[in-house]
């Protein structure tokens, strides 16, 4: 179209010249003098310039050119009315910028596909056993799924544990993943160096071939390609045959897996495990990741796995009694299920803020269109139709929105920096929060949408012209009824939106406060924890005794799992009490923890009855256990649990060599929150380390020693035991508790910021409209005061009149809050969704703000000099 236009018009001027020449020639032939002939030809042709323009008009995209003209006009108006422009642009910048920032989080975590090949076909498969819905699969189950599935073109498993980097060099504890040989290609396209696994790699479990992460390759081996084929040997001889590095994973490879799966994203060593030789009750659980065959839906895959589970239940009695099931979820959706509702809530909140911002700008535009009545009337008089006027107003709004949108980029950039600084770990591990092309496109889209939201009403009302009235009046005339009511309605809407946002924020803040005061079952202060190389009882016992020698240390112990820490994959298993009928022997699950004596004292837990473990509680004596109060109450309500017998799994013969065992309960301890501050998940069974040796974390309770000094002292003592022992993941129990609150803190802070912005915008809106009303009524106020009204009369009149929409908005907002509150239930803790206290506080805050926002402009009205006011235009 544009091309054709250019081609058509390029010769127009030449053609016109040619035409006039020909006519001149004709005239000369008719006997005119050359001069006369030319003059006659030009006259006959008409106004060449206008004709040229008319012709161009035919090819022009008229609306676009008109729009550009309107936009230029709008831009001129903006620069002329700077305070209006600044107010509107700032408001939009905050609204759009906040939206863009939150969208960048939503995009990174909920929308952007995982950085894996065929990410949309990746799924996670959970095993359901008894009450547990999200258990890993045994190797046997994995093998069954793999052999009997056509819906998946690949099914692989991964299990992550802790280990030390083998070979020479400083001791360093890292995450080690045991993966089936088909796992790496499922999530990565090709290795950075070397190769991925081949099936043979899994056959010899001694002297294994391993893959390492790009990070380990760089920091430990300087990125040396000669690392391939290198055999790493452990000095203490744990792996006699050493390990051979056969490949390096890609640089940007990250494990992004559900947080509840206790899978870390920074695994440095990958060891192959075999599918083969997996007895039904064999050890070695794996989280299962599958890739759907092309064209297969999740529903079809689920149906197929239901069949596999049914066959397994039919063939294995244990599976039948545990009601074993398999469930498949999209990998991404499963990964974000913990953060999804919080993110959507924030997104909704930020949308409300944008709405409030739009309402404010609409108000500003409405006020301005009253001032522009004369201009609009003139335009209408000289022939601008209603549609043309609306288009003009919208074009101006569009300019406003786009300028606001550009300013919003700055706001968003700052906001994203702030968001990342809040370190919402549960979010950061799921994706990279950044401003990228998609986010910019979103911001542009939002800017355009705001034009419709804030620009359309004022455009329609501003174009409604009573010609004679508009021409007669001054620049500012008394607001017509419709405009007055629409301003009041906008204020009411703004207040209502703020109330909804404030109520939600109030609930989130109370939740966060409740989390700060919740008793986690342990004492977070004065306890430092760290992990080190796994070793047997003698090794850990020696460390325990050495650390106790540090002056000021009150208690030292170790546990396979620390509260609120996901460093180690959770250990939980079935248990039953003595005399339980067979059908109940497979249905109860408890978290199992392997601990050294003095553990409860070290973490500051409460021993309710019975005794702690001692060094004598080993395999050669009576096998004992300590349970938490929840298990005791569930199994033996109304009785003491002491002396009762439980059947559990432990590993007295060595690491992970599970066997069923009868243990006697010798103590009951208050439940400790291991998984989150808010839900207890499962009851707990503690067994002495000697009955279940496994990698442990140490806890050192010491008062009055700075963390750094304590750390140095621990390192020194550790050196006395084993110079090669790493001291990794040094964190305080307080930090672990803090991390458990991180997401709630993130949401609460953000919501508070949003609510603050909303209240501020509402305040500005109310004050703006009140000022406008006062200005409009300067005459009237002057007259009243001249006739004897006191300042107080005037003040009350103005506040009362302008407060009405605030009160209406407050009532509507409270009603909406009550109605919407149940949606938030899953995000709250320690506070009911329809908490009257929160709502009352919100109502009070909004009422006070509303009065204050009316008060200041009203106060100014009382200072009006009646003489000046009466002369006011």
């Amino acid at each position: 179209m544009l091309n054709r236009r250019t081609r058509m018009l390029s010769q127009l001027d030449g053609e016109i010249r040619d035409h006039i020449e020909r006519e001149t020639e004709d005239n000369v032939a008719r006997g005119m003098s050359p001069e006369e002939a030319r003059y006659a030809a030009v006259r006959k042709f008409g106004n060449a310039r206008r004709i040229s323009e008319d012709t161009r008009e035919i090819w022009s995209i008229a609306w676009l050119e008109n729009f550009m003209e309107d936009a230029r006009h709008g831009l001129r108006l903006l620069t002329r009315n700077k305070s209006f422009a600044l107010a509107a642009i700032l408001t939009l910048a905050v609204g759009i910028g906040a939206n863009t920032a939150i969208f960048s989080v939503v995009h990174a975590i909920l929308l952007k596909p995982l950085p894996y090949p065929n990410a949309d076909r990746l799924a996670i498969i959970w095993t359901g056993l008894a009450e547990e819905r999200r258990a890993p699969a045994s190797r046997y189950e994995l093998l069954q799924m793999r052999q009997n599935s056509k819906a998946f073109d690949e099914i692989a498993g991964i299990w992550i544990t802790n280990g030390a980097v083998p070979g020479d060099g400083a001791p360093e504890q890292v995450k080690v993943a045991f993966v089936t040989t088909n796992f790496p290609p499922l999530l990565a396209s090709e290795p950075a160096a070397g190769r991925f696994f081949i099936d043979d790699d899994a056959k010899h479990e001694d002297g294994r071939n391993i893959l390492i992460s790009y990070g380990l390759w760089q920091r430990r081996f300087g990125g040396d390609p000669a690392v391939l084929g290198k055999i790493l040997r452990n000095k203490n001889g744990d792996n006699d045959d050493g390990m051979t590095i056969v490949g390096v994973l890609p640089r940007d490879f990250r494990l992004i897996l559900p947080s509840s799966s206790a899978l870390s994203d920074s695994v440095d060593i990958y060891m192959p495990v075999s599918f083969a030789e997996s007895p039904i009750d064999g050890p070695g659980y794996l989280k299962t990741i599958g890739r759907l065959a092309p064209g297969v839906t999740m529903g079809q895959a689920q149906a197929e796995l239901d069949g596999v589970a049914a066959r397994l239940r039919a063939t294995v009695p244990d599976f039948a009694s545990q009601k074993m099931s398999l469930s498949v979820f999209p990998l991404q959706a499963d990964g974000v299920r913990d953060v999804r509702s919080a993110l959507l809530l924030l997104f909704a909140g930020v949308a409300l803020v944008l709405l409030i911002a739009c309402v404010n700008v609409a108000n500003l535009l409405l006020a301005r269109s009253s001032y522009r009545l004369r201009e609009t009337s003139i335009r209408a008089t000289i022939g601008a139709g209603r549609g043309r006027l609306i288009r003009q107003f919208l074009a101006e709004s569009l300019v406003l929105a786009l300028v606001g949108g550009v300013a919003a980029m700055g706001v968003a950039w700052l906001a994203v920096k702030g968001l990342v600084a809040l370190r919402p770990e549960s979010l950061l591990r799921l994706g990279t929060i950044e401003l990228n092309g998609t986010v910019f496109a979103y911001a542009l889209l939002v800017s355009l949408i705001t034009v419709i939201v804030f620009g359309f009403g004022p455009a329609v009302s501003g174009s409604r012209i009573d010609l004679s009235g508009g021409m007669k009046s001054g620049a500012g005339i008394a607001p017509r009824g419709a405009a007055k009511y629409s301003r009041a309605a906008l204020i009411a809407a703004e207040v209502a939106l703020s109330v909804v946002l404030l109520s939600a924020t109030g609930l989130l803040m109370r939740t966060f406060a409740a989390l700060l005061h919740v008793s986690p079952g342990f004492t977070a202060e004065n306890a430092l924890t760290f992990t080190t190389t796994a070793g047997g009882y003698k090794y850990v016992h020696e460390i325990q005794s050495k650390l106790l020698e540090i002056p000021g240390v009150q208690s030292v112990s170790a546990s396979s799992h620390l509260p609120l820490d996901s460093n180690y994959a959770n250990w939980y298993d079935g248990y039953y009490q003595e005399g339980a009928p067979p059908e109940d022997q497979n249905t109860n699950l408890a978290d199992d923890r392997s601990i050294l004596p003095n553990y409860f004292q070290s973490i500051g837990a409460t021993l309710i009855e019975g005794r702690d473990f001692t060094d004598a509680d080993d395999a050669s004596h009576r096998h004992v256990a300590i349970v938490d109060d929840e298990l005791a109450a569930k199994e033996w309500p109304g009785q003491s649990a002491l002396g009762k017998k439980l059947n559990i799994s432990d590993t007295p013969k060595g690491f992970y060599e599970f066997e069923r065992d009868w243990v006697v309960v010798v103590g009951v301890v208050k439940h400790v929150q291991y998984h989150s501050l808010t839900s207890s998940v499962r009851p707990q069974i503690y067994v002495p380390f000697q009955l279940a040796p496994r990698p442990v974390s140490f806890v050192v309770r010491a008062a009055g020693i700075p963390t750094a000094a304590l750390r140095t002292a621990i390192r020194a003592k550790l050196d006395e035991v084993d110079r090669s022992a790493p001291m990794a993941r040094v964190v305080t129990l307080g930090q672990l508790a803090d991390k458990a609150r991180a997401q709630n803190r993130f949401v609460a802070y953000l919501a508070t910021a949003l609510a603050g912005i909303a209240l501020l915008l509402a305040c500005v809106g109310i004050a703006g409209v009140t000022s406008f009303n006062v200005a409009q009524r300067t005459n009237e106020i002057g007259l009243r005061m001249a006739l004897g009204a006191t300042s107080e009369n005037v003040l009350r009149m103005i506040v009362e009149r302008n407060l009405t929409p605030v009160i209406v908005g407050l009532a509507v907002g409270l009603a909406f809050s009550l109605a919407l509150a149940p949606l938030m239930e899953s995000l709250l803790f320690g506070v009911p969704p329809q908490d009257p206290l929160t709502l009352a506080a919100v109502a009070l805050a909004v009422a006070v703000t509303g009065i204050a926002a009316c008060w200041l402009p009203a106060l100014r009205a009382t200072r009006i000099d009646p003489m000046i006011a009466l002369r006011h235009d």
Binding site: E15, I16, D18, R22, K44, F45, G46, I51, S52, T55
Partner: protein, 117 residues
């Protein structure tokens, strides 16, 4: 204004299009030739402000009724020739029919007695 000019008739809205199409039915012509043809064939009664021809030509091109070709005119001057398209030819038939109806209708209104004769 001179008397001669007053005798001329201003073109009705839209009729210029019809005249252009009719003129081009004889064969391609450049802008000036079209203007002169309209003038000559109407015995100089129809007053065309010659310039107004050009917006009309471009309107017709946009509608696809005529096309413009580059060509060389009689004395070797480069010129743009306008030519009727098949669509334009059909349109001419339609427009001519409409015009006839309109002219007849107006004639009936203006000269009702004539029919009684």
């Amino acid at each position: 204004m001179t008397t001669r000019e007053q005798e001329r008739i201003e073109l009705l809205q839209g009729t210029l299009d019809l005249l252009i199409l009719r003129t081009l039915r004889v064969g391609p012509a450049h802008g000036h030739a079209i203007a002169r043809a309209i003038e000559v064939t109407s015995d100089s009664v129809l007053q065309v402000e010659q310039g107004s021809l050009y917006p009309a030509l471009h309107r017709l091109i946009k509608r696809g009724w005529i096309v413009a070709d580059e060509g060389t005119s009689e004395n070797n001057r480069r010129a743009k020739y306008y030519r009727l398209t098949a669509k334009g030819r059909r349109q001419l038939t339609v427009e001519t029919g409409k015009w006839d109806k309109l002219a007849a209708a107006i004639a009936r209104i203006l000269r009702p007695a004539k029919q009684e004769d």
